[in-house]
């Protein structure tokens, strides 16, 4: 039987595999990217379950896995709970690991998905941003300029993206940007490892900001899309090396 109007997509495999794995990945990225700090207490299990929209059992399984990976420690007693452990390695390891895991096609698809959201946010922000929104975006670019290390750059970048979606006056786009950041962030923004790449990132974001200031929606979208695809190109280059270096295994 032929597929009528995308019926097959209804029965395509669900995103993200097992729910437990998705929770583990989200928290482990957060810990290793430095979004969650050493000794910080994680929210209570019930709060995690409601935040992720999963069952308590799933959260407990995920925490057990994270303990086994040495990323969290559980303390008992009145001030007990799950605490983030100090993890060496950090952002660079996360990037390499994730680039190995996703494969080139998935990486490209992620960039396409993000361009759809972020490009539209940029275009609408150019139409709708108020003076205050523009000031926050300008501060985001200034923060990126001042950022001393990779973690700070990634935070500044992620803040700029969220503020851009907020300037578009769209709660949905803002939530999409925030939701995609945990996936897009490590893969695309961490690959800007050279000074030239970092200059390019800064110029792109300045380009988006200028277009928003000039109320030029088409240019804002073009700059935003070019920014994401430039990041994709850098990540892909790194990915091809990583995957190229892997043992091809037996035929």
């Amino acid at each position: 039987m032929r597929d009528r109007g995308g019926r097959a997509s209804v029965f395509a495999p669900l995103d993200g595999g097992r729910r437990t794995d998705a929770v583990v990945r989200r928290l482990s990225d957060g810990i290793r990217l430095g979004l969650l700090r050493a000794d910080e207490q994680l929210p209570a299990e019930t709060e995690l379950a409601s935040a992720f929209g999963v069952s308590l059992v799933t959260v407990r399984e995920a925490l057990t896995a994270l303990r086994e990976q040495g990323l969290v420690a559980t303390r008992r007693g009145r001030h007990g709970g799950s605490f983030v452990r100090d993890v060496p390695g950090g952002a660079g390891d996360v990037l390499r690991e994730r680039l190995r895991a996703v494969g080139p096609a998935q990486l490209r698809d992620l960039a396409d998905h993000y361009v759809a959201i972020f490009g539209t946010a940029a275009q609408l922000a150019a139409d709708r941003a108020g003076e205050h929104d523009v000031a926050l975006l300008a501060e985001g670019v200034a923060e990126l300029r001042r950022a001393p290390d990779a973690d700070a750059r990634r935070r500044a970048e992620s803040r700029f993206h969220t503020e851009l979606a907020a300037a578009a006056q769209s709660p949905r786009l803002t939530r999409e940007v925030i939701g995609l950041q945990s996936e897009v962030g490590p893969l695309l923004w961490l690959a800007a490892t050279t000074e030239a790449a970092r200059d390019e990132v800064r110029q792109r974001l300045e380009g988006v900001l200028d277009a928003v200031r000039d109320r030029d929606g088409a240019r804002a979208r073009a700059e935003a899309s070019a920014h994401v695809y430039a990041a994709l190109a850098r990540a892909s280059a790194l990915q091809l090396v990583l995957l190229g270096e892997e043992d091809p295994g037996p035929w």
Partner: protein, 218 residues
């Protein structure tokens, strides 16, 4: 008696805003003067838990110039206003990388700079609910009327829109409730999109002591 629909609209908006500010001023009375900021929690919870309330968040935010420094006692019901009441816990250490500096945001800065109440928005609240929001804030004063922070409450635009659309619908001419920068809060024509800034000419009907007005076009 025939009531002009535009007048009915302005009256409704004024009433909704005034009752929100009344709730906020009630909260302010709890902590002023010299009462510890945290004691506001006992007054905020019942407000947010009241059935049918439009308030999705409320609390107080301290001026960093006060003895306590940066501080926030803010409670919210989460996205959609459906969830349990939770305390907001932003990063308020100025040396932290993800420090949340609220002193530059209009819901804090305007009451500080003008000494008067303010309605911020409509804007996407990226910290608390990620909803399209209006925030009502009033200045909080310490000893000698020195600025000590703001007390405020959030309502979601969706709630207000629903209450205004029946009245807007009765206006024959294109009309919109807009904020001071002419950003649409609610309107009666599809082309007057919520959240966009209207630049064309129109007849302004400002609302008394609120940074909002009804804009009638065409």
């Amino acid at each position: 008696m025939v009531i002009d629909p535009l007048e009915a609209l302005t009256e409704r908006v004024t009433r909704l805003c005034e009752s929100t500010f009344a709730a906020v001023e009630g909260l302010r009375a709890v902590v002023e003067p010299g009462v510890p900021a945290a004691s506001i929690a006992a007054a905020v919870r019942p407000l947010l838990e009241q059935p049918g309330t439009p308030l999705v968040g409320a609390g107080l935010v301290l001026d960093p110039g006060t003895a306590a420094g940066y501080g926030m006692e803010w409670w919210h019901r989460g996205r959609g206003g459906e969830g349990p009441v939770r305390r907001l816990e932003p990063v308020l250490d100025p040396d932290a990388d993800d420090f949340y500096d609220y002193t530059v945001l209009p819901w804090f800065a305007v009451p500080r700079d003008t000494g008067a109440r303010h309605v911020t928005g409509p804007y996407v609240d990226t910290l608390c609910t990620t909803e399209y929001t209006l925030t009502f804030t009033v200045p909080l004063f310490g000893a000698g009327r020195s600025f000590a922070g703001v007390v405020g409450a959030d309502i979601v635009v969706d709630w207000l829109e629903r209450r205004l659309l029946p009245l807007l619908h009765r206006c024959e001419r294109p009309a919109a409730l807009v904020n001071a920068e002419r950003r649409v809060v609610a309107a009666n024509r599809p082309e007057l999109v919520t959240g966009t800034v209207l630049t064309g000419p129109g007849e302004h009907r400002p609302l008394p002591e609120l940074p909002l007005s009804v804009l009638v076009l065409g």
